[in-house]
Amino acid sequence: MAENNKIELYPEVVEAPRFTCALGGAYASALATYGTVPILHSGAGCGMANAHGMTFASGLNTGGAQGTTSTPCSCLIEEHVIFGGEGKLRKLIKSTIELMKGDLFAVISGCVPSLIGDDVDSVIKEFSDQVPIIHINGAGFVGSSYHGYELFLEAVIDQLLTDLPKEKKLVNIFGIVPNQHVFWKGDLEVIKSLLESIGVQVNTIFTDFSGFAALKKIPAAELNLVFSSWVGIKSAQKLKERFNTPYEVISSVPFGPKETSNFLQLVAEKLKIPKRVISKVVEAEEKRAYRFAEYMSELFVVSVPHAFYAVVADSSTAISMIKYGTNELGWNPQVVILTDNPPEEYRAAIVKQLTENLESAYSPKVIFEIDSHRIRLILRENTFQVLLSSSLEKYIAGGELDAIHLGVSFPIYDRAILDRSYAGYRGGLAFIEDLTATYAGPM
């Protein structure tokens, strides 16, 4: 008990939380907006730390042509702490505009300029008539990478967007945080093609080849879709206030046929798409998905039938995994540990998503925990045959927990994730392929 009391004193002192800082989230978002050049106004190690601990940690990715060591950085040191870093930043922005190809320049301030009180906005103003340029105040101590994603969107909304006429059946996608959501690239492409199949135009922003144009187009959408129970809702609210765009919270990316069909029907309802259009797509896609699912039935029934399973993931990925595993594969959810630290006010809705309308006789225990050591202790107290989590559990799963493990959530260091996706009608099949690759052999 004593230990518990202490924990409450400083709940943020933890082992290996599964996110990085606000600068990291804003940096990931800028890199994901194709054609954007991030400019880090920070110490020289912030970009390197996030190259290793964010982009590389999300399926062994580099940050693309403007990422990793290619990202301009003001590399602040002690003399800047004393005399200010504005001069250094000014030179850096000027040279970056000269040297690097970009449609948009995103200056991301880290801890140092925030602590020393650099007036970054004034510096940026000097360049605003030359190139599109925005400033994200992303000091590492203001929040996690999830918060950094929202800070990026906030900067875009405040500094870049102007009123546009609404385009019929155009939607924006929010809530899928680059790198934190390890399947972000593949999932966004799948969502886009799913919606296009029912005649909806999709602005995914991050996978679009003209990222800057995609950002500017945000106000034209008829509807904003938020694929998270909490991340991106604030931005959607802001867009509603400013551009009168309604938003719908989808909670998670739909994995497998059932959730995908539900998702398409929901969007159709919101956008008044005729039922027959949806039915045609659903029927054809489901037919194909389940035909191919038949090919795995022997393997599945022998290797992982009605398994007890545990999920350790951000709330969005966890909801996807619980719905697919429980309602399609016939697994029994044992425990869900949520690692993205959602604000208190969203937690009840997340628990509801994870525990209601499930086919299993069991409802999972839902625990919010960001401490990787405590997560390990919780897992030890539970029995399950399948563990869907980050790769942090890879070597624990076999030895300590006697479970088959597949990495589905941040961080993923045990495989490359380039355009992998478990979303949509084909996603379930890909998931089975990946899961069984960790275990399968001749019978």
């Binding site: 990085t20 020289a44 702490v81 850096l92 040297l99 070597y395």
Partner: protein, 500 residues
Amino acid sequence: MIDLKENTSPIREQRANGINAYFGKASELVKDSRDGNLVHRERAFQQNSGCILNFYLTVRVATIRDAVMIMHAPVGCSSPALLYREVYRRIPAGLGRPEKFDFHWLTTNFNEKDVVFGAVDKLKFAIQEAENRYHPKAIIVLTSCTSGIIGEDIEGVVNDIQPEINATIVPVHCEGVRSRIVQTGYDAFWHAILKYLVKKPQKKQKDLVNVASMLSYTWQDRMEITRLLGKLGLRANFIPEFASVEQFEMLSEAAVTAPLCPTYTEYLSKGLEQEYGVPYFLNPSPVGIKNTSEWLRKIAYYTGKESLVEKVIAAEENEWAPKMEAIRNEFQNIKPNGEPFTVLGSLGQGRLLTQTPYFHELGLSMPVTICQDFDDLVVDDVEKLVEEVGDFEIVVNTFQAAEVSHTARKHDPDMVLSCPFMGSAYKREKGQTRIHALRGDGRKWSTQAGYTGAVACGSFLLQSTKNKAFQKTMLEKTQDPYHDWWFEQPNTDYYLGKKE
């Protein structure tokens, strides 16, 4: 003179005139250094390059086996350590990797209140938490830009709380803003190790050789070094990566401290000699046939194995030198007119001194090289290097990707050897491959150290000349992040400011 009464080491800029920007001939660099003409020059265009904390200190300290790392910082600073549960696990236990080990680290995870009111109580709590949870032998506290700027009294915390804590608390001053030279981070780490963790020798271990191993040396490199020292009846004490706390404690008992990288090890080596009389040498490192033999000879000198070592060297060279000769011959025949095969190495100071003679041994020519930083500690060695292999162009930069790409295009060598995380310099018509593998790689293919490493690495380099499809395809099919003018003008130092 290392002053262990101080909380930390001086920065490399102060103690060795460290710089991270220079463009010219190696001979000129030596001269400028001797004449006191090396001064810091600021770049108007700079790319993110790592700080003294996150130029891999985090991912090194996180692998000390019975210690706990505490990052006194915002959450992002420790994110590279997310690899902690997987690193080294891919090495089969059959290769001598212990079956059971666990790493742990905590972050104090600063919030906005902490930067206003301070977070020393939080740090105390984290230290207690580390002790209660994991019962480690050492708790290593890494500081950050933020902890430094808000003026956290780290030593105050340590003095306060050490009496109630069984583990030895080791505060490391690696605030990112302290220094431009990433190697300051190594010095700061070794300073803390010397000050807090190394114990007075209980007994001298005459067969123990301290070897400070690098992130870029693989498990097979350790095995090769262990094999060679074993032939001399000696044992390697590999620190800091994957070491136990006891291995640090007994550094003072060793017969000698031997280098894998001279400037990485220098502060520790000098400290161990000064405090405990452990002799050391800084050159050469065991890379290439000739320098491996020389390395063994030096170790033998300090351990009384002089006659045995000549037998070992003769047998090893007899076995491996012909294989090196075959590789050398094949390299000589790559270019039709007998011209030497040219390489561009992206190196640290240490690899500048170890890899360059190795390239020379392979018959490769190195007209230009990129070196992460430069300081007085290696001036004599670089001078000797120039005498040995001839003069060459040197670009001193710490991970400046645009300059690396520019250098690669301008000099257009047959092969570019790049560090991991080197931006887009790998995209080219001619050869490219990695300069080194990393510590979690257990494959024989990736060996570089010792005799087997000389041959394995030579074969690897030959192999890399046989197919250029990857780099050519990526060059053709992807966009370069820089405007064309950058490559059309000749000056890699275009954005280098005047001497300050």
